[in-house]
Structure formats: C-alpha cells, structure tokens
Symmetry: C2
Subunit: 485 residues, 2 copies
Amino acid sequence: MQAPTLYRQLAEHYLSAIRHGTLATGDRMPSVRKLMQLHEVSLSTALQMCRYLEAEGWLEARPRSGYFVRQPRRIRLAPALEPKPATVIDPAQFVGIHERVSSIIAQGQRPVKINLARATGAPDLYPHKQLRQLASSLLRQYPLLLTKAISPGGNRDLKSALAKRALDVGISTSADEVIVTNGCIEALNLALRAVAHAGDVIAVESPTFYGLLQVLESLGMKALEIPTSPSTGISLEALELAMQTYDNIKAVVVVPHLQNPLGSIMPDSHKQRLVTLCEAKNIPLIEDDSYSALANGDKIPTAAKHWDQTGNVIYCASLHKILAPGLRLGWMLGGRWQARISMFKYAQTRYNEELSQLIAATFLQSSSYDRHLRKLRTTLTQQREKMAEGIATYFPEGTRLTMPDGGVSVWVEMPPQVSSRAVFDAALRQDILVSPGLLYSNSNRFDHFLRLNCGTHYSHELEEALGVLGRIVLDLARIKKVASA
Amino acid sequence: MQAPTLYRQLAEHYLSAIRHGTLATGDRMPSVRKLMQLHEVSLSTALQMCRYLEAEGWLEARPRSGYFVRQPRRIRLAPALEPKPATVIDPAQFVGIHERVSSIIAQGQRPVKINLARATGAPDLYPHKQLRQLASSLLRQYPLLLTKAISPGGNRDLKSALAKRALDVGISTSADEVIVTNGCIEALNLALRAVAHAGDVIAVESPTFYGLLQVLESLGMKALEIPTSPSTGISLEALELAMQTYDNIKAVVVVPHLQNPLGSIMPDSHKQRLVTLCEAKNIPLIEDDSYSALANGDKIPTAAKHWDQTGNVIYCASLHKILAPGLRLGWMLGGRWQARISMFKYAQTRYNEELSQLIAATFLQSSSYDRHLRKLRTTLTQQREKMAEGIATYFPEGTRLTMPDGGVSVWVEMPPQVSSRAVFDAALRQDILVSPGLLYSNSNRFDHFLRLNCGTHYSHELEEALGVLGRIVLDLARIKKVASA
C-alpha cells in the first residue's frame, strides 16, 4: 500500500487538532507562508491541504484574511439511535417482500433526473477505459474466447488473483478453493442452500439489504431480524438471546463491513466473538464482505473468516461495487460446505463466462487496482461529506445520521412520523429516486429511513434535489403532526 | 430462408434414386458431360454434386471410369433398439449422480489429444471473428458498458431478438416475456423450482442429459425415467402409464428436438399429444429446446410450446450450442409461472451481464446468423456422416447406431457386455476422451453406450482415434464373452 500523500498527512494533523478542540470554531489557521515554514513543505502542498479541509467542510476561506476553522453542518445531525438488544424478535417469512421491492423497483425504472437509490458508484468512478482496453486486448490475445466451451472449474487466473487479494483481508486460501459466482447474490443463494432448507430460520441483521430478504423468501426460509447498531454492526447480545430463544436457527448472515444500509463496521473483537459464538452453537456463519475495500483508510478491514478455525464461516464477496458494476462477478469460500456448494454452483449455472473473468483477473493482478481503490475511496469520502452537508442543510430538525466510515451511501433517519414510502412517491413525482427504508426489513420498523446514494458527483442539480427532498420530508412531518394533534 | 443450392438439389435427386434402388450398388453414375446435358447445369455444378455424394459416402470415383454407386459403411450399422414402453420404471433420487459425473469430468480435465466428450462444436465452427469484432465495436459504442450498473429486467435488445427468433419455431411471444438466464441449465433450475419442491417426482427421458439429473439431485427431486425412442423421442405410452401409476409426478422435462444423447426428434403429432396429455393431467411440461436450430433441413422444428394454449409449457433454450459456446446465454418463457420464475431469477443471480447480451442481440438481428446456421448444419452433417463411417469401419460386430437428423453427436450402442466406464478408462490412457453412457441414467441401463462428439473436423488423427476406440471395444467384448463362457 502506498503511504498517504504529504498534504493528507498534514490535513490529518490539523483535523485532529480541530477534533480535540485545540483549534476551535472561528480560530484562524496558520497562514500558508507559516505552514510552509512550520512543516517544511512547498507552497503547493500547504495550499492543497487548506483546500482539502475546505472541501471537507472544516475550514472556510475569508478574502484577504486566510482560512478559519468552522464546524461542518453535518455535526448538527444527531447520530442514529442504537437499537435495544432485547427488542422483541419474531422470525418472519414475509411472503411479499419481493412484491414490495419489485413494485418499488418497477416504479423507479423510468429514467429520472437524480437517482439516489443506486447501491454502486456512478459508472465513471470505475476504471472504464482501462477495462475496455483490457477487453479488446484479451479478445485479440484469445481469438476463440467467445466460441470455445468454458473451461471446467472456472477461470484459473481470476481464482488466483482473488486468492491473493484475500490475503489483504486476513484470509489465507488457495485458487482451487475460490468459487466464482454470478455476483454475491448467487454466492448467498448457494451458501444458504448448502446449510439450510425451506422452512428453516436464518438470523439476519436488522435493517438488512432487501436482496437478502428476497433470497430467503425465494428459498422459503424465515428471516429472524437481529437488532444491529449503526456503528458496530449486529448486536451480539441480541444474537445470543435469539439463539437461546429459538433452537431452530440454521445460519447467521452478516455484512461485517459497511453493512447495507447502515454502513456500520464491526470491531475486530466483535467479529472474533461472533465467529466463536456461531461455532459454539454449531450454527454456520455466512459473511458477505462485498464492501470492505470501500472502507476509509489504507488498511482493508479483516474478514470474520480470518478467525475461522473449523470451516464454519462461508465467505462471500463480489467485485461489482468495487471494480465494475457491469461485471456480475462474485466469489466465495465454502468452508465445510465447499463440496456441496461446488455441486450446487455447477448444477445451477455452470461456470461464469471467461471474458469478464479474464478482464477482472488481469486488472486485479496489476497495481492499477490499488490505485483505483485509493482514488475511489477518496472520491466517495468527499461525496459522502457533501451529501451529509446537504442533508444537514435541507432536512428538517429531528433528522439523524451516523456518518459511515466508507461506502457508497448514507442511511438517514427522518422524524418518526414520516413514511419513506410517501417520500419515495413524492420524490419520484419530481424526478428523484430514493431507496425507502421500508425495503430493509420484513417489519415496518425502518419506514422512516432513507438510503441515499453518494456515488454520484455532487453537482448543483444534486444539491437542488436534496433541497426538494428536504421540503418533502418537512411537509410530511408537519402534516402528520397536525393529523395526530 | 435461402433455397438449397443447385448442386444440393441435384444430389437429393440422385440420393433418392439410390435409396429407392433405382441406382443400385455398383451402378455407374451418368458421366459429368451427361449430367451437364441432362440437367442443363454447368461443369462446376455437376462436379460439385459428384464430389459431395462421394464425401457423403454414396459414390466412389474410379480412375478413368467415372463415379460408381456404393453403400456407405454406416448402412451396415443396425439402428439402436426401440425401448419397451412397459419397462418397469422406478422413480429414483440418485444421490450420487453428481459424484459419478464429477469423477468422470475431473478425470477428463487434463488435456487430451482427441476430445469426443464435448457437447458443442469445435470453437472454429462458430462465428468467432464476427463476434469478436462486434464485442470491440460495442465497447466503443457504449464506453461505460462494463462499469455501469446492469439495467433492470435484462437487455432489451436481446429479448427482442429472441422473441423474433421464437417465431421460427412457432412461438409468438413478446420481448417482455423473455427471461434471459445463465445458460439453459439455469432456466431448467428456475423452471423446476417454480413447479416442484424437494421430494417431488419429475418424469424425464431415459437416457437423458446428465446435467438434468444433477439439477434434480441438487434440488432434492426424484427422476422418473421414461423409455425414449432413438427416433421419435419420449414414449407417450410409457409416460401415460407412468402418470397412471404414480400420482405424484410434478413435471415432465423433455428435449423434443435432437434429444441429448439420443438425437431423436419428436414428430409434430407426438409433441401435440404430449402437450394435451400434460394439460389434461395438470402436470407442467418443461421443454428444453437448445438444439433445434441444428436439425437438418431449412425449417427449424416447431416447438411443443407452439401447441400450448394454457401456459402449461415452460420453454427453455440457449445460444451456446448454436451461436457461441463461450457465451452463457440461455432464455425461457415461464408460461403460467412467469411471475414466480422472474422472482426466482432476480433473487438467484440478478440479470446477466450486458456485453454478451448485446453481442448476441446484434448478431441474432442480422442475416449473418442465418448464414452461420446453414453453414454449421452442413458442416455438422458431413462430420456426423464421417464419424458414422469411421464407427462402421472400426467398431466390432453388434455395434448399433441410429443416425440423428442433426446435432453435434452420435449415440453408439456397443455389444451389451462392454462397459462404457471401462472404455472411458482405456481410451483416456490413450489420450482420447469419450462420454460414457453410464452418465445418462440413474440406473446402469446405458452402460454399454457412448456419446461421441461430431463437432470436430474429421482428421486423420480423429480417424486413428476411432481405430483405437474400436480395438478397445473389441477387446472388452471378447474378454467379457470369455469370462462369461
């Protein structure tokens, strides 16, 4: 990994001073000339640092006076509430989540001006030019690639590249063990089919990615929703309680890093305890690790699978959020169920097409991939900050937001009387698409939440859209208050 | 469709005379000069016709004497025996077919000199150059194709192209109803999951494609093997009997055209009766129509789905046997189960990648596709004939073969005492890969059969390999005879 650039190191230094109160709101920053002397840096580095902190909302430039410390508006947003671990839980096979999701998705399929419902970055955040060139050059190199039968077992190059990259998250595995799938969604299907049957209960985070609820519904399994913290992920107390209450839990599914929609990241100690707990109870743990490369910082978080001694953890991940949303490439390590999962994969969809695998393999093996990830993380961080500023500016009092430490979206809690479905409908009439909270649970527990995408360049148009959204939320909050008064 | 070329029309004329005995073995053909006068054709056409019939094994050239009628050697091969409709049937959930298939496939994964186990044509039988050029030009046309999120619902162009092509097999549908899948194997999975559950009994052809048996095993369903004729496909008498005997059949799966491995083609009257029968018994019919475009003649056979009035037929097909083995593109029409299948597809693997869909769509919409298919059919016909000649030449007495009316393989019945597993092992030791009959049934009913691929250019090496195979079969037939004597 490359070290952070000089101006970023300097920025961290001053940010820390601001956070600790050494530099208070309204304080003047040292002048650029002073910064150059103090830190023995060039004019360009000093300026870059100030502009960076300005863009992040921590400094404001006053003409002819220099830079002054300010508090970003988003500081005013209260963090989301922590869930109560003892919340009453009921395993639900919500026959209808697919219909609910489909109806929302179907409505959102017409072209809109501003799409905040996406779960990926905008297409130009990914290395489209390099991937396109790779595609053409690979087709020249392997002229029969599109017309020869796909080699059994999946593409060896991609499997090697993924096994190597797995070292970054603390997993030591071999290319042979990597099963390439059609996206993480196929991996989750295979994992669940390997360890459970129709009618079985599966513990999931709450809120959770609606795609998982749809998978459970399609397999006839029941979701047991476990309270999950916006900062530290699934509540281990609640999970343990659930395991004591229900003796028929057949698997636990978690997204330890940048959970969708919360953005929470489980501390290492929690992941380790979770692995131990599941093992002790003999309940398979399915880890969905599709987002970890988008976490802030230069060290990718360690996978729960790292602490797995017995093969009780099935590791699932994908490349489309981090490398290329147009490639449906997921992958998994099957743990104790490796043979069964391999069989299911072969019987379900055979092996993936080779071209996309070769494109991905070649890119993953190069240092371009590391450069891409660093750039993507920086861009997303800036965009998340700006989105949070916009929300703090335009959304009404009572709005809550825990800033996630990475990822492509924020999870916004609106005043409790506001229904996300109503916001969705009103926003769509104004050509804005949002992802309503009611999709993220079998209950209506999160109906006053929105998941807003931060993967798009923060433009004037986007700011306007946030203004429109803010007014919609404000209006709905007032109407409801009046109605209930 | 283009009319057959002049020399082919002429060839058909003389072939008919030979078949009817008007021209007997040993008879001299009219001279080339005579042919030119008789039919008012050019020298080149007359010569082309004679050379074509020579290549097909019906004429032999004698120096300075002209062409003489001969019988191809394959005429000496007796056709495969018809099954007995009343054969005792037992629904079997063969837990282990996957293991059996995997062990065979795993052994065959090392590079071999001659691969006769393939289920597709050789890569150069497909339009690799055109597809490659399309890929590069589409990537230029849509520069963000690899990095933008896949559009919901699947690629519209491909769905339109497939709906249009469906007219050729007698199906009138709309682009909206086409569900694009990861190969026909995913389509079969989705179809079976939509109509049946673990433990249910599914009627299948016997012998049948081992992939289907693996799908059934992986879904926990039981295969009920119905006797199937090498010429007319599934026995309707046997199927009806089975429906009377077992009241828990939840679906019937058939490959009406160029059944794998038999190569049989169901007559239209049979397909119609099958559709009516299934409808009357309220049992869903799943039609796998992946090979029909490879049937001889200029008219693609009519799908069973054509006679479906009530949505009781689920139609599944794919493009990799006919257009490009490297593209994992299947598709289906869900009939009454359309909504359920769409949900399962979404929850299982989302939508397919766009690039391959666009490549296929663009090619299907052009007349290049028709030209490709005509050429592919002609090439395969010649290669099947040559393979049959080779088998007639080198395999021992008692070998049986029904020439299929199209497709990429032949199904060879060896003397009953010969085990296909033993042939497989012995052949592999000599670097030849075959597909043993024991894979095509849960029973050992077809252990003395081989499926041999005809998709490779018939070379001297290939002829030698058939010689080796013939000796292996002969040796095994003798040893077994002695042992049992």
